[in-house]
């Protein structure tokens, strides 16, 4: 069976870099096909990509990503919820959707919480890996049963 090329791969990888204990630089990689499947189910819609004429690359309406991540990828520290800003996204020919995000804590911190339940409702085997790089390297894997984790 091939769950990879066309069907769900069930894995996302998020790389987070915490700089100066305040600024977050984030890249999220998802399988574009999985994302479309989950999004369509959740909002009972059909999203499609558009193509940049100059380089023939696919892209989504960014509002879709914003709407989705606002609900499924949340970072906060104590009373400080970070508002995350999408600075762009790409879909490559291997079918990987990369979303680039930045944000800042109001106060400096080393400890924060991530809520990550991307795709797990529609794809029960989905695993969401988050690799954090700050003064140390940490990694955590979220799934349908574990949606929240404190990084410290």
């Amino acid at each position: 069976m091939n769950p990879a090329n066309i069907h769900e791969t069930y894995v996302s990888v998020t790389e987070i870099q915490l700089k100066n204990n305040r600024d977050l630089e984030i890249s999220i990689e998802l399988t574009a096909h999985d994302f479309e499947y989950a999004y369509n189910k959740e909002y009972n819609t059909t999203i499609s990509t558009r193509i940049y004429p100059e380089n023939q690359k696919e892209y989504y309406n960014e509002k879709i990503l914003f709407r989705y991540l606002k609900k499924h990828f949340i970072i906060n520290a104590q009373t400080d919820t970070v508002s995350l800003k999408i600075i762009g996204h790409e879909i490559n020919l291997e079918g990987t959707l990369s979303i680039y995000i930045e944000g800042s804590f109001k106060n400096t911190t080393r400890d924060f919480n991530i809520y990550n339940d991307m795709l797990v409702r529609q794809l029960p085997n989905q695993q969401n890996i988050v690799n954090l790089k700050s003064d140390k390297n940490l990694s955590f894997t979220f799934n349908k049963n574990i949606k929240s984790h404190e990084f410290k």
């Binding site: 990879a4 066309i6 069907h7 193509i51 762009g88 409702r121 529609q122 990694s139």
Partner: protein, 768 residues
Amino acid sequence: MNLSKNLFYLITLTCFNVAIAQNQNLNYNKFKQLKEEIATPNVYRTAAGAPGHQYYQNEADYTMNITLNDQLQKITGSETIKYHNNSPDRLEYLWIQLDQNKRAQNSDSYKIQTGGVNSLNTRSIKNMNPDFEGGFNITSVTNTDGSVLSYTIHKTMMRINLPQPLNSKETFEFNIDWWYNINNRLEIGGRSGYEYFEEDNNYLYTIAQFFPRMCVYNDTEGWQNKQFLGTGEFTLPFGDYDVSISVPTDHIVAATGELVNAKEILNSEQLDRLEKARNSDKEPVFIVTEKEAIKNEKGVKKGLKKWHFKAENVRDFGWSSSRKFIWDAMVVRQPSKDVLAMSFYPKEGNPLWEQYSTKTVAHTLKSYSKFTFDYPYPVAISVHTKWIGMEYPMICFNGGRPDADGTYSKRTKYGMIGVIIHEVGHNYFPMIINSDERQWTWMDEGLNTFLQYLTEQEFEKGYPSRRGPAYKIVNYMKGDKNRISPIMTNSESIHQFGNNAYGKPATAMNILRETIMGRELFDYAFKIYSNRWMFKHPNPEDLFRSLEDASSIDLDWFWRGWFYSTDHVDIGLESVKYYRMNDQNPVSNKEDKKLNFEEVYNKDISNQRNKELDTYRENDKGLEDFYTSYDPFKATEKEIKKYEDFRAKLNKDEIKIIKDNSHFYEINFKNIGGLVMPIILDFTLSDNTHKYVKIPAEIWKTNNKDISKMFAFEKSVKQIELDPYLETADTDRSNNFWPEKIEPSKFELYKYKNRRDRSSSNPMKKKK
């Protein structure tokens, strides 16, 4: 570097060995041989990795009559199984797989799903009380004389309680009648089922795991009757199939094997076209055109037509049927035999399918055969589906559908080609090299994904392969170890299925080929493995042993690290120390000392300002003594004599090394990730030339954690890079450079690359 005692004394460095502590006298060395992990060689499987002199495998031949009910989406069948006991053992019972029972309402596959309230979704709620009446309905199990045969069904397994034991070399023949409801693949899911096309009120059936199938009995598992829970796929014996399938008159059928009654089924034009296809090795020939298929799907004709297929030496049988099918074919010529590559697809698959499917099948056969053996079957078929990719002998079901308006993205195109290569490739692993999928997913998926990568790269330069290159597995391997399992994990217990069973083993094979063994040794050994186990049942150790035995490379450390552990690769340049050769010549040594002294003295601010200062001693000769004229930086005669005596003792080679005046670097390497790997270094010298150094993994053999090594160059070194060609899957490259170099993150790369684009995102505004 092999220095004599004399010369070693001359090098001004301190060297010490670091020994790792071995706990409680147990051997934790990563190079420890695998004897405890893998099965002991025996008469069935040799220590060289080949089938042993008493290797055996049982066989199952099937004769089946099947009817498809297109109104009720139901299949009815009766089959005769002829089971040949080639084992040396007496069998009291036989085990049969009832895979459809996975969809029975009381199936374990629903019960074992985990999760709390917060993991609920529509499918999981539906699965708590499934309303689809799936599963086999066994209506009769009889002996050849028609008498009832005793049997017991336990979930997805059925035991035939033999009237008397089946002796070695004996054959037992019996009949099973059955029916089941076909699942809607798009709603319920599954590897097989139907897709309904509302627009023209038609069904497209992709049918597999559709009949009670014999389990494998062998020397490693006894009966492989581990229940089918949905993840671990199938373990099946080889045999010959004679299958008649009755479908609506206007359906077109694709199936495992050769159509033996083509003359009764096809019209004379279709027969002519099929003949033409057998001689066309450049372009596919249509047997049913799109126009004909569209006409076909509009009207429903009454009655049934029987398609008759025969397949020899296959482990399974799959088929597909629809009145929507377009059918094309072309021939693939091989030294040993010609093969018909074919595709079956509805108009919804076009324009992608008519252009790419059959040619991709043909390309896959050519490429895989080069690395293994000539494709031994008469046909290779790709059938269009929505979404999935699933493999059976000679036939596979593949996704890749353009949008309704006939356009498609590049991503859809490459996804489709990739999935066809992968599923057609499964003919080699596990259909012919018939590993135990229920036990080890990686043995077919991993090896197949590896060859898929090679085949994709041969399809088009720069083909966007998802898996294969070492650097693509890095994200997975550096992840949280609580959610990673070793490759050697049973199919049902794997975390991150795709990465674990597909990506990592495929990458491991590619690393063996590119870095550890080299292409020549690897390709030979891999071909040996493939040919040894063609039409047989290999185990993991048969692969491990074959690759070692045919290449003269001890790979136990590689299997241990990559297949039996969750370690990752992270080798770091811990420290770099620089040395020059000092030949102890007192004249030059003291001159150097003088220069060093003067350099510091002249730098001091006060000394600089005091240069013109008139001092007391300079004005009063009475303050002079011995030390006023003594030069501490001048070699004494005694020192010069001692040096000359020493020089006289040196041999020619030693004098040459001194003359070369090399630059020495002592590099300390730290193994942070745990996996031992070769150390590959790129030294950039002061004149910008490069020295590429590759040290085999055995450098870690006595100390798996810290090692140091000396390197000598004629020029000084400007930069050192570890793993310059990204071939070891090193997960953290921030410690791969000297001097330290920070590589930009993915985020930084994107932001930097797009900064310019973003600033000119609205050029109109700027113009105003």
